[in-house]
């Protein structure tokens, strides 16, 4: 099973011919991901080390049965590329691109939702299901197959925790980087719901950070809808909050957005929160032993 990406994933990469797109696209393929096509307008008919390139995502679907799209195009063209992938009919879009304007993402978010397409990111490291498929920039060798699902706002922190889990002899069903932008296609809640349904996942590690209220809303969701144990880590206890501009932000949220508030919200709902990535990994390993 695993979530979001697995053996069934047939990947089309928008921006495959770019420097980063080529590097990571080939890395994904050498991991075993079924990379069926690339898309770069004007470069249809070329190939990147045997991966055929098309002008349009629709052609990649028609010719190569692509079902998942990865977005590696520059920020100012990324929203259009995501929209194209949604319209062409893939079921999942994973957007790695950083720096997409927030109002562009707002339109794309609702477009994906209305079309029933799962959107991960943008500004995220992607999704890895160890032993099955890797879509994005997560260095796969830090993770072994196993029963711990990881969902995270932060890339490098995820590698840090994943590596500690591996060293402790545990592994992962899937690692999902949701990204830390103001508007992301999938929130903690969306991914927690997938892990709850996933047979391979026995425990969930959630990695959050200061800002927004996604962790607090996840805490409420966990209390009501997640039966599997959840361990969390929150970064940013020492980070002073930015300057407050006006009152509007305070009015619309019941949460302070601080790391402390997030930790309290999670602990109040039975989620164990580690003080460091190392402690969170240890808590996860302990919880796995308790399950076994």
């Amino acid at each position: 099973m695993a979530i979001v990406v697995n053996e069934e994933t047939k990947l089309v990469i928008s921006g495959l011919t770019g420097r980063e797109g080529t590097f990571h696209g080939l890395r994904n393929r050498s991991y075993g991901t079924d990379v069926v096509a690339g898309v770069t307008p004007g470069k249809g008919g070329q190939d990147v080390e045997g991966i055929p390139v098309y002008d349009k995502v629709a052609e990649a679907i028609a010719e190569r049965d692509a079902n998942t799209s990865m977005i590696f195009v520059p920020a100012r063209f990324a929203a259009a590329a995501i929209t194209e992938a949604i319209d062409a009919g893939v079921h999942t879009v994973i957007a790695i691109t950083e720096g997409i304007p927030v109002y562009d993402m707002l339109a794309v978010y609702w477009k994906a939702r209305d079309a029933g397409v799962r959107l991960i990111g943008p500004n995220c490291p992607g999704v890895l299901s160890p032993g099955k498929s890797n879509v994005g920039i997560i260095p796969a060798h830090f993770f072994d197959p196993g029963a711990i699902g990881v969902v995270s706002k932060s890339g490098t922190l995820t590698y840090q925790i994943g590596n500690e889990l591996k060293q402790a002899g545990t592994g992962n069903s899937s690692i999902v980087g949701i990204g830390g932008d103001p508007i992301v296609g999938s929130d903690f809640i969306d991914v927690l719901a997938l892990f709850e349904e996933d047979d391979e996942t026995e425990l969930i590690v959630m990695v959050g950070e200061i800002g927004g209220d996604a962790e607090e809303r996840a805490a409420d969701f966990i209390a009501e809808h997640v039966s599997k144990p959840v361990v969390a880590y929150i970064a940013g206890f020492t980070a002073p909050p930015g300057k407050q501009m006006g009152h509007a932000g305070a009015i619309i949220s019941g949460s302070s957005g601080t790391a402390e508030a997030k930790k309290e919200a999670l602990e109040a709902r039975g989620v164990r929160v580690g003080r460091s990535p190392t402690e969170s990994a240890q808590l996860a390993v302990e919880a796995m032993r308790a399950i076994a």
Partner: protein
């Protein structure tokens, strides 16, 4: 765990808690956010561009220019400090002048004054308004709902947050549905529901529609007007402006990008900005460099837990090359308080050999007279560690784990 454990900013946290959630909000961006907060006058200039009514005003950054501006707009006029912090009036940063002598003495008092850590370099001189009523309005991107939210209240002023809690019916909140246009009718309904004075209601509705235009056209994720006034001749006018512009969209707003370059407050932050680094000064003595915002914040936490005081937040970003590391070390060491530096790198997209090359290059190019604790893990870490070992740099300490490195740097910094 008590917030006091985290020494670097516990004072700040306490202050925020003590002020009834002001600042404690979704609106608070974490320190790495690079979104651009406009000064009042910059926001008002954008208002004017989009037809949102504002009082006649002039910009000044010297006393003579302020007096000249006052003469131009006429008396009585208001001289307003331009700083990115609220409650300027209470701090003495807003004063009314009735003639040129008063304009001069107020400008002298305000220019150069400190308002809660912010030095006033600029003022906005504006024709004084006769005020019949003070309303509150804002448009903000609601991240949870993924929609724009319009708020309007007939009770403007400082206590709007408190009112939102004690008398929620006094504040109308309405989301704009993504698939729908924000029509004049919808705006009129908000105005009516907020019980805006009848003769001002249509003007307010018209202003809401224009604010929505401003938000989308200028990529503003927050616009707040407090107070939005009705003048004695019954005109609706924006007397203040708070606006935040999405950093990612600055490429399509050339004039606004230029403002960003002038917005730094601190010499190190200015230097980092010029080098394209995300750097925030924190006031301690342990310089920190990490890759990725999450790992970098986590490093601050772990150093604080080990009893140390981080001097800064510096995210080298994904895929940092040697040049970026040299630049980062230049910025960190330009802070005189720094007496030890921690590099915490977990390479994913970032290659540890590049980081190592950067450290070696920096040691040749700049005078690195502080001890360096380095933890390299992840992509190409063996190669990176080998390069560092071969370089035999003085006062370089290699650590295998993040916790070990944090403890070591704290020990060195306090020893």
């Amino acid at each position: 765990m008590p917030s006091g454990t985290f020494t670097a900013c516990s004072g700040l946290v306490v202050r925020l808690r003590g002020s009834s959630r002001i600042g404690g909000a979704v609106g608070v961006r974490w320190i790495g956010s690079r979104d651009l907060d406009l000064l009042e006058y910059q926001g008002k200039q954008l208002f004017a561009k989009h037809g949102v009514p504002v009082p006649d005003g002039r910009y000044a950054d010297t006393v003579p220019a302020a007096v000249e501006a006052a003469e131009e707009v006429g008396y009585p006029c208001v001289i307003k400090a331009q700083v990115r912090i609220g409650k300027r009036g209470k701090a003495g940063g807003i004063k009314i002048a009735n003639d040129s002598d008063e304009a001069r003495s107020h400008a002298e008092a305000i220019l150069g004054m400190e308002i809660r850590g912010f030095t006033v370099h600029e003022v906005w001189v504006e024709r004084a308004s006769r005020i019949d009523a003070e309303y509150y309005t804002s448009i903000i991107l609601d991240r949870s709902e993924k929609k724009l939210l319009v708020m309007l209240s007939r009770m403007g002023g400082m206590d709007v947050e408190e009112m939102a809690e004690t008398d929620p019916s006094g504040l109308i909140k309405r989301h704009i549905e993504p698939a729908e246009e924000f029509t004049a009718e919808a705006a009129r309904q908000i105005s009516i529901d907020a019980r805006i004075d009848e003769d001002a209601s249509d003007q307010v509705a018209e202003l809401l529609v224009k604010l929505h235009d401003v938000a989308l056209a200028e990529d503003a994720t927050l616009i707040e007007i407090n107070p939005l006034i009705v003048t004695s001749d019954r005109k609706v006018v924006a007397l203040d402006s708070k606006m935040t512009i999405d950093n990612s969209a600055l490429y399509r707003h050339e004039e606004l990008s230029e403002l960003r370059d002038r917005s730094a407050e601190d010499p190190q932050e200015q230097m980092a900005k010029e080098k394209g680094l995300t750097y925030v000064k924190l006031g301690g003595n342990i310089g920190i460099l990490g890759n990725g915002a999450g790992l970098c914040m986590s490093t601050l936490d772990v150093v604080a837990q080990a009893g140390g005081k981080p001097a800064n937040f510096l995210d080298a970003g994904g895929g940092a090359k040697a040049d970026a590391i040299v630049a980062a070390l230049e910025v960190i060491t330009s802070d005189e308080n720094v007496n030890a530096i921690l590099f915490n790198i977990f390479g994913g997209i970032t290659r540890c050999d590049e980081i190592a090359k950067g450290i070696i290059e920096a040691s040749e190019r700049i005078d690195l007279d502080v001890p360096l604790v380095v933890r390299l893990d992840g992509t190409n870490s063996e190669e990176g560690l080998r390069l560092l070992a071969e370089a035999e740099l003085p006062d370089l300490h290699l650590e295998k784990t993040m916790l070990g490195a944090a403890e070591r740097v704290v020990e060195i910094a306090s020893g």
